[in-house]
Every structure is written in structure tokens, then in C-alpha cells.
Symmetry: C2
Subunit: 233 residues, 2 copies
């Protein structure tokens, strides 16, 4: 084996954190500013960074998420690594990386993690240089995103859908402790990018033994108060 | 961010290829010989190698599998990356890596792939320096394996089990085109590490609409010939 082609890329972690505000699925993104010949260029990126020399991948993902968003004790699932040579084809991404790391950067393999959290979790919206914001998932396609982060977000969503079939509890992480069937349907439809018929959805939920009706209804709503449900593990 | 802790590991791919011989689940391993102070030490490793500078991760996995085993056009699924700093804690692994790559090696992040193939696929058992063999999966725990390859094999098996629930066709990749229920049960039990009751298993299969009974029975068997079935997509 000749060694001259054995490339030594950098390795990073990126976190796709999904939240739900009752209507839309959101993803947590970091604002990025790049000084290009004295003009500021702004776009967004996933919370992520290059791994440190003494940490495991899972540790790196938790550390980076906390550093950039203030979020702690989030259950992050590693779902896929992205490592195409064309990931760093945009000179702007290289410029930004070299400015922030003070390293010469060629290629980066990134290990991607996904998490679902309640949107009322407190995000540290601003630390020294970074600002984290919830962005509507359906606006991601039209946003300027760093690297291949749009693709990573899509793959993260696919992973979530795929795993909801076997781990339905993931869905309930995104709802308040007591929720209406309408809220559940809205979340379900958003994740699956579908529009469920109201009556059929009620039938479907009736078969989910882990969704339990409470003797309570919504309070303080202008419309007829709907029954509340909870998730039972 | 200080750059002195931003480590630059090597990146490799490793392939966990499972086969089934009708009785046992097997995994494809490469024989490894290391010259330690003029004594040969032998152990086994997964087919894997460091990625080249111009290839994507998926490309690297296919290339490496073909180079080391002769297998072509295998459907490899990326399932997880492993990157703990302790992956290269064994000096023997470093010695072997530095001898084969002529590179100074510190830490390696590996991206692992899994495949299920029929065991009658032709393996190129010997090329210049490597020999690939099918090894019984239940003997892996007692084998000397390189790096964390025993752990990677276990995680690969977990991934397969997890995904069989949603992609049952994966199971049928391992069976002959026409199979008996007894063969199917043997494979199912091996993958799930269980022992199904014969009658209950027949009931379970009766619900799998994709398993179709043929008007044919086994030929040339010493016992009573069993009915043959096929998988319908």
C-alpha cells in the first residue's frame, strides 16, 4: 500500500437538535459570520466542532452542544458520518474553519448526532461569539447553510422517522406532559410530512396502548376544551 | 478556541460482513500476522483500511472490501463510527498499522459498515498478503481480534436485529432462493439469539405475507422432505 494517498482528515461532530413548538418542527442552528475582504457574510450552521484529542465521539458531541447552546444532559444518538471530499469545496467554509481553529484544513469527516427535545428547554441564545436559534424546518431548504448541513438535517429527520416505528416514545419527548390528540396529530404529521384524517388518526391512537386519556380537559382556550392525554411508558 | 487540543486522527472504514451456512451465523475476518521481535503473532481483524484522500466513505468501504476479499457489488450499510482514544491502546495494533501504512499513527476514527450476504458468494481466500475466512460468530468472543473489532461486530449484529423489524427482507438475503421453514427458523433464532418453539414459529411465519409456500418439497434429504418456501418482495 502506498502511503501518499492515505489522507489525514480532521474529524468533527455535528448535532441535529429537533424541537416542536406545537405547530412546526424546528431545528437548532448557530449564526455564523464570516469576514470576507471586509464584508460580513452571514449564514447558519449546525452546532458542531472538531473533536479534541482526548475525547470519545459521544463526549465530543455533548461537549460541543453544551458549549454552543448551553443545553446539558441531552440524549444524542449518533446516526451517520459524512465524509465526502466535496464537503469542504466551498472556500467560505474553509476560510471560516481556518479562522476559528487556526489550523490548515483540507478535508473533514463529521460524525452526526440527532436529538429530540422539548422546545421550552432553555437555550443560551448568546455566548461570546455564538448565537443559537430555533429555525423552522420547512425553511431550511431556502436558507444559506454551511458545508453539507442541509443534507445532514434531512438525513437526521429520516433517521427519526425510521426509528419512531420502533421507538414511539421519541415522539412524546416533543410534547408537553399532558397533550391533546390534536397536538399529537400535528406533531405526527409534521415528522412524517403527511396530513392525517382526524377520525382515522383517533382510531390509530386508540390502538397505542401507551397513550392514556386523562379525566382532564384543556384550560383557558377560546374553542371547546379538548380532552388531555398522557404518555405511559 | 485553542488549537493545540484539536487532534488530527486518521479515518478508516471497517466492514462487518455476515453470512449464514444453514446452521450458524458467520462473520468474514482477515488473518493478520505481526512480526514482534522476530516472533510471529497471529490474530484476526475486520476487512478495513484507512480512507484515501479522494474517496467518499461509502466508496472507501466498497473498495476495501473488494481489495481484501474479492467481494464486489455488496450492499454495505453504514451503521456507526467508533472513535474512542483507547481504540489504539494496544501497541501491537500500532506496530501493525505503522508497518502496513508506513505512517506515524496516533488515533483512528473508524466508520463501520455492515452487510448480509449468502455464504456461497465466492470469497477470494488469498491475495498477496491477506487471507479472508468465514468465522463462526459464536466463537468471536474467544478469538484474538484487532483493535475494538469484537465490539464493532457486536454493534453490527445489534443493528441488524434492530433493522430486521422494519426491513425483514434483509433476513432473506441470507437464505437460498427456496428454503424450508426449518432453515428460516434456524436463521431467525441465530440472529435473535433465541430458540423459537416450532409450532409458534409456524404461526408467526403464517402472518408474514412475504413468505410464500411453493408446490415443491426438498429433494435428496434422508429425512421426510419438507415443503419449500420463497420470499416475495
Amino acid at each position: 500500500m502506498s502511503n501518499q494517498n492515505l489522507y489525514n482528515p480532521h474529524v468533527s461532530v455535528d448535532c441535529v437538535v429537533f424541537g416542536f413548538d406545537g405547530e412546526q418542527l424546528k431545528v437548532l442552528l448557530i449564526e455564523r459570520s464570516i469576514n470576507e475582504q471586509n464584508e460580513l457574510y452571514n449564514d447558519k450552521k449546525l452546532p458542531g466542532s472538531i473533536i479534541l484529542n482526548d475525547e470519545d465521539l459521544d463526549e465530543a458531541a455533548s461537549r460541543v452542544l453544551t458549549e454552543l447552546t448551553g443545553l446539558k444532559n441531552i440524549y444524542l444518538s449518533q446516526f451517520r458520518s459524512f465524509g465526502g471530499p466535496d464537503r469542504t469545496k466551498n472556500p467560505r467554509d474553509i476560510l471560516w474553519l481556518e479562522n476559528t481553529t487556526q489550523l490548515k484544513i483540507g478535508r473533514i469527516v463529521t460524525v452526526a448526532y440527532v436529538a429530540l427535545i422539548k422546545i421550552d428547554r432553555k437555550i443560551q441564545v448568546k455566548n461570546d461569539n455564538t448565537q443559537a436559534n430555533w429555525c423552522n424546518l420547512n425553511e431550511v431548504a431556502t436558507m444559506n447553510l454551511a458545508f453539507d448541513h442541509a443534507k445532514i438535517i434531512n438525513k437526521g429527520l429520516e433517521y427519526i422517522r425510521h426509528n419512531l416505528d420502533i421507538e414511539p416514545h421519541l415522539l412524546f419527548e416533543l410534547l408537553p406532559r399532558k397533550f391533546t390528540i390534536s397536538q399529537l396529530r400535528s406533531l405526527y404529521d409534521t415528522v412524517h410530512q403527511t396530513t392525517s384524517d382526524v377520525r382515522n388518526f383517533h382510531k390509530k391512537v386508540a390502538q397505542w396502548t401507551y397513550v392514556v386519556a386523562l379525566d382532564e380537559v384543556e384550560e383557558g382556550v377560546p374553542h371547546r376544551a379538548a380532552r388531555l392525554y398522557k404518555y405511559k411508558k
